[in-house]
Structures are given as structure tokens and as C-alpha cells.
């Protein structure tokens, strides 16, 4: 108890509740699988394999990265609805520098792999900066500001190529989606891990991270305490936009083409992961570890329900119920 844990919550069951929930979910899914094995329906328990674990991590990598950015935004008492569109825009920009099909954009072609990567990151960061500028300077509600960007970025995605997708991407670029480290760990999972570690350091070890909590907890007090709240908010949205760019690279490289409709409604899964992870939409509260398990829970659920052969429409119903239940549970415990 003697340690100082600054702008985070003190030790509580709340912190580990989500891990318990995650393990419970895994146990439930593997139990059902095991029953099928014992019934002789299946030869092996397909859920509990290294391959499946990698698959789950692979599947959550895009949402996980978006959810990291969303965690910053939600802790600052905001919301970013534009991450899915920005992902698509950034992916399209990257693809236009990494394709053999010429003429889709005036500049399209195969460039050195750093160029498409930088293009995606810059696109994401600039869209985020635009969000941050509107939110922090004009004091527009984040919901509205990023709703505008949701539409605008989608429009720009289509405008770049006149509404066409970009395919025939260079193998060097596709490595970001399909490569494997030591032939085992998919590159998207490696990137997901790096993003989580760096974001954790940023949020927990830097002055900026402390300020994000303070601004979300009480912006007026933060300002009185001498914090430049405008600049903090600006950077929060830049982080979210930048990570949308990272996710855009992965998704485009994974699917092998940049689609104009890529990432549609991805913001909702990202928000779901953050909220299941225990962050409060009223700001000041949230942890990256929570977000990680939130994304994992969504991933395991999707994966488990797929394995068990549950129809996709029932999956949506279950997911919807889970999100609402998680928040009800959380608010009850806080009260």
C-alpha cells in the first residue's frame, strides 16, 4: 500500500475482474469444445492450440491497435468515431505507393517500402491532428468533430482513386500483414505488442500520460494546475489518428488490397474493447491492460462462436449484450 501509483486507480478487485472474465470465457469455450471431443464429434480440442491462439491474436491486431488509440481518447473524456474511416484512408494512401497496377492515382507505383508506411502514418496523424484541432481549439464536442472526420475521411478514401480499390500490392508491403517472426508469430501480432508496450510507457511513465488522466478527470482543475489542456487534447487525437494509420497498414497488407469500404464500423469494436476494459466514457478512468483484455474478450468470443458454428447474427446479439452488461456491471461496482 505504501507505493505511489499516481493518476491510476488504487488496488482493487476491479483491476482483475476483467482477467477473471477473460479466463472464464476461455474456460467456457474450451469446455464446450472438450465436450464435443468426448462425444466423438471432433478429433481434437481445436480451441486450445497454439495455432488458434495466434489466430485470435492475429484477428484482434487491427482492433487492438485502434483500441489503444481509443483508450487515450476515452480517458481524456472524448470519443473518436473516425478511426475506421481514417484507417481506410491511410490504407489507401499506403497502397497507392505499393502497387503494380498503375494509373489508379497519379503517383501510384511500387516505391521503397518505407514510403507507403510513412504515407499511412502521416495520413493518420494528420487526420488525428485535424480532429484534435477542432476539439481543443473550437471546443466542439468530440462526438461531432470526429463524426465529421468519419464522413470526410471516407470521402477522401474514395476520392483518391475515384472510388476504385487498389490491389496487386508489392510483397515487401504485404509482409506487414502476412509475414511471420521466426515463422511463428504473425507480424501484425508483433506490431500489436510493440504498440501496446510503447503506449503503456507513454500513458504511465510520461508527463503527457499523467496529463491525459488529469484533463479527462477534470479539465478545469487541470488548467488551473498549469496544464496546457489544449495541447494535451490535440496530442491525444494525434495518437489515435497515428494508430489508425498503423492499423490501416496492417489491414491493407493483410487483405492484399485497399478497399474504399475498409474499416467500416471498426470504431464501434474499438470503443467496445475500451469500455469492456473498464474505461469510463466520462473520462479520467481507464487502463491499457483493461483495453487489451477487452480486445481479447471480443476476439475470443468471435473465434469461439465461429468454432462452435454459431451463426453470425447470433454473434452480434451476444456481443451487443456483453458490452451493455459489462458497463452495467462496472457502474454498479463503482456505485
Amino acid at each position: 500500500m505504501a507505493t505511489t501509483r499516481t493518476l491510476k486507480q488504487p488496488f482493487s478487485l476491479k483491476r482483475y475482474g476483467i482477467v477473471v472474465a477473460f479466463l472464464g470465457l476461455c474456460a467456457l469455450v474450451s469446455l464446450i469444445c472438450q465436450i464435443r471431443v468426448m462425444q466423438g464429434v471432433w478429433p481434437v480440442n481445436v480451441f486450445l492450440t497454439v495455432n488458434n491462439l495466434m489466430l485470435i491474436l492475429h484477428q484482434i491486431s487491427v482492433n487492438g491497435i485502434l483500441a489503444v488509440g481509443m483508450t487515450f481518447v476515452v480517458i481524456s473524456a472524448g470519443i473518436d468515431l473516425s478511426v475506421g474511416s481514417v484507417l481506410a484512408f491511410a490504407g489507401m494512401m499506403a497502397a497507392s505507393f505499393a502497387t503494380r497496377s498503375t494509373g489508379v492515382t497519379p503517383w501510384s507505383g511500387v516505391y521503397f517500402v518505407a514510403i507507403p508506411v510513412l504515407a499511412a502514418l502521416a495520413t493518420g496523424a494528420l487526420c488525428g491532428a485535424a480532429n484534435g484541432f477542432i476539439v481543443s481549439r473550437f471546443r466542439i464536442q468530440p462526438f461531432i468533430a470526429t463524426l465529421g472526420m468519419l464522413l470526410a475521411a471516407r470521402g477522401m478514401t474514395m476520392a483518391v482513386t475515384g472510388g476504385n480499390p487498389i490491389s496487386a500490392l508489392s510483397p515487401e508491403f504485404r509482409w506487414f500483414g502476412t509475414g511471420r517472426l521466426f515463422d511463428v508469430i504473425p507480424i501484425p501480432v508483433v506490431i500489436l505488442a510493440i504498440v501496446f508496450v510503447l503506449a503503456w510507457v507513454l500513458l504511465n511513465k510520461t508527463v503527457f500520460g499523467r496529463y491525459v488522466y488529469a484533463v479527462g478527470g477534470n479539465e478545469k482543475s487541470a488548467r488551473t494546475s498549469g496544464i496546457n489542456t489544449t495541447s494535451v487534447l490535440m496530442w491525444v487525437y494525434i495518437v489515435a489518428g497515428f494508430l489508425s494509420g498503423v492499423a490501416g497498414i496492417i489491414l491493407t497488407a493483410k487483405t492484399g488490397s485497399a478497399q474504399t469500404a475498409a474499416g467500416t464500423a471498426y470504431e464501434l469494436d474499438a470503443i467496445a474493447a475500451v469500455v469492456i476494459g473498464g474505461a469510463s466514457l466520462s473520462g479520467g478512468v481507464g487502463r491499457l491492460s483493461g483495453t487489451f483484455f477487452g480486445a481479447l474478450i471480443i476476439g475470443v468470443m468471435n473465434n469461439g462462436l465461429d468454432i462452435l458454428g454459431v451463426e453470425s447474427f447470433y454473434q452480434l446479439i451476444i456481443k451487443g449484450a456483453l458490452i451493455v452488461l459489462a458497463v452495467i456491471f462496472d457502474s454498479r461496482r463503482q456505485a
Binding site: 500500500m1 508527463v207 478527470g217 482543475s221 496544464i227
Partner: protein
Amino acid sequence: MSTPLLSMRGITKRFGGVHALRDGNLTLRRGEVHALCGGNGAGKSTILGILMGFHKPDSGTIEIDGAPVHFTTPTQALNAGIAIVQQELSGVPQLSVAENIYLGAEPRHRGFIDFETLNRNAAELLDRLGFDIDPKATLGDLAVATQQLVEIAKALSHGDSDVLIFDEPTSALGEKDVQRLFEVIRELAAAGKGIVYVTHRLQEVFTIADAYTVFKDGETVDEGRVADITREGLIESMIGGAIEGEFVKENVPSEKPLLEVRGVTRAPRVKDISFRLHAGEILGIYGLVGSGRSELLDTVYGLETAQSGSIAVAGKPLAPGNVDDAIRAGLTYVTEDRARSGLVLGASVGANLALSKLRFINRFGFVDERAERDGIATAIEQMNIKTPGPDQIVSFLSGGNQQKVVLGRCTAVDPRVMLLDEPTRGVDVGAKKEIYRFISDFASKNGAVLMVSSDLEEILGMSDRILVLRDGKVACEFPRAGATQKDLMMAAV
């Protein structure tokens, strides 16, 4: 004498550990305008809150026409004939006058609002009150004074309320509208209603009221007929007799000006204010609610941008509206409202204590966690903050300890000038004394303190000099030895 319309006897009410009312009494007769007087925090709002059913009294009796009543909800009070005319204009500007009057009690026909009846009822009510207002007019288009009349009509629309409460009704009105309002109040009284009139402006007590009750420190200290008392007498009642000698200011200021404010204006509340604050000095600022005292501190600190005038610290001018600049020059600010602008309530004691200092204890943006931890431990010890540990969420601490956290956060950055707004509001007596000691120590180490307070004893006990603000201007300046509570009050009203 006949049975009073309303009688409140021996009302007590505690909020947490603080006694908001110790012995509240109020007797209101029919046909009478009764002024409720007292300084900020004297207990006026609390007794009104009890009368209107917002708070439940801990003990005491309330009688209406001699029959005891117990209110637990505002609706019960309303049904018992007690209505309030809101202090601030609280109508919905987009709706019509009639819709505002019957908001939430609209006559209905098959689930739809029956506009015909609504407008007819409103017209009848307005007519009966003698208000010449079109019930179909949009509220927001009307003059402020007319809107205030609509508020009165609204208060009277719930059947025939006998007790009408006016809480600072003139604060938004011009001179002419005030006269019109007074006429209406006299007519209402003449019609046999009992009027409770709350005001900070003593002038109005003598213009409109027949009887008065004075509150001080949660007690009724004086009551009587307005005809039997003078302005001086009323002020003496409001400030009471004894002055307790528990203030600890002892040092003498130097002649070096540390903070210089020249002709600072920030519309609408701060008008052309100038003063100098010297090292080692505590400059008290006294003024009633709305006199511009908090706005002055906001402007000096840069939360608000001064429209004209200059602010300089140790001879160096500050950029207007730039908090960063103010902090770098050595200013720090303890705001009036801890919960709204002082603390991050959901965060820990440690996080709050470290907040201002973080900018100085980092390397390339990375927090020096050892310095942070040490700083927090030192602050908890120095400020004597009673907390189970630095991880305790700050909202669980008592008011006094919360205030010590704010002060600890502010002093962590070694400020030269402290701006304090009501530094002991909502703080228990023990912690109050510690805070006085702390402020005094700070000044004795050549710091300068600008302290706003509406506690007369506090401001007279602590300050080397006192500025009295009235309507956004410096009304008067007193040296420490040369002022009495009466002087301050006279200058402020």
C-alpha cells in the same frame, strides 16, 4: 397577535461534519414582506432549502397556520402553498410565456397539450396578477424584467401559494424594473400573502420589507420590525459582537512590490482595478457575491483574459490570458470551488499533489517517479494531510484535507504569489487553523498572498491590508489596524 402564517422553530441541519444550521428561526405573517439577512454561508440558503423540501431538517418544527408540517419532497412543500421565485432566470427561452408558466403541468387533452386551455389559463393568471404580458409571446424575446414577472406568475400558478420566496430577485434587474417588481411584491403582500425576501442589498431591506430576520453562523441572531432598526443596527447584527483571537498573522511586509495590477478590466465583472501586493504581505479582498472578486483572481491568473490594464510580477509584465506565463512568473491559484476547478476528484491524493509539479520533474517527458513519490510524501507530511495513503481517492477525504491537498499541490512548485479564493470554505475549525498557519508561514518567507474571503473575522484577522470590492470596482482600502467588520460591510453593500 394572530397565529403566524409560517413558523420555523429551532431548525438544525448538518451536512457531513459541518453545522449549516444550529438554531434557525423564522416567523412570517400574512401580508408581510420579510427580509432574510446575513452574510455568505450564514444559513439563509439552508433554511430556505428546508422550507422548500430540498433538505430534511435534523430537528426543529415547521408550522403553517399553526399546524405542524413535515416536508420530504419539494412537491409536498409546493402543495402546502410554498412557492419560490427563482434567483436566476430559469425559464425555457424558446417556449411561450404560457408554456413556461405551466411547464410540467400542462392541461392535456387525449395526451396532447390543450393549447387553448393553456393560453386561457395563463391569460387569466397574468390578468389577475395585473401583468400586461401576452401569454403567446416567446419568453426569450421579452425583457429580463418581464421574464422575471413570468417567473413570479409561474410560482403562483400552482394553486394559491401563500408563502412566496424571492431569492435575490433584483440581481439581474435595472433600476426601473426593480421599482416595478417592488410594486408587484407590495400588491401580493396586500393580497394577504407572506413574502420571504432574500437580499444582499441592505438598501432594499429598508425599501420593501416590513420585518427582518438576521442569520449568522447558522443561527437566528436577531429578528424584528424594520421600522425599529437602523442600517447600522442591522449590520451589527449581521456581523455579531465577539471577534475570536485565533488568527496567526504576525509578519510585517516589506516595501518591495511583487505583484502589480494596474487598471485591469474584464467585462462584465472586473472594472479598472489597480493594486500592489508586496513580498511578505497578505492582501485581503472582501466583497459580496457578484462583486467581481473571483473574476479578479481568474483574470490575474490568466484563466480570463484582461481586456485592458496590465499585470506584472516582480516588474515583469504577464501576457494576458496566459496561465502558463503566470505560473512561470511564480503565481499559483487556489480556486473557490475545490470540486469544480481545484481537484481531480476521481484521482488519488498523490496524483493531485503531483499535478502541478510534473512539469519540473521529468526527463525528456518521462516522469521522475522517485522525485514524484518523495514530493508527494513530503507534501502529505508538511500539510498534515490525514489520508490512509497517497493512493486514496481524494474525494473520500474531508473538506479540510481536500483543501490541504489543493494547497499542497500549489506550493509544490515554490510559488512566490498565492491567489487564494475562500481558502477555508467548507473546512472544519481545526483544519482552518492549520490553513491560517500555513498561509502566514508562506507570507513570512517573503511570499505574497492575495486572499479573497467573505468571512469577516478571517479577513480582518489575516490581512495586512484589505480591499473592498463592490460592483467590480475597488470601493475602499483599509489598513489592517484601521478597519472593523462594520467598516467592511458598509463599504461592500
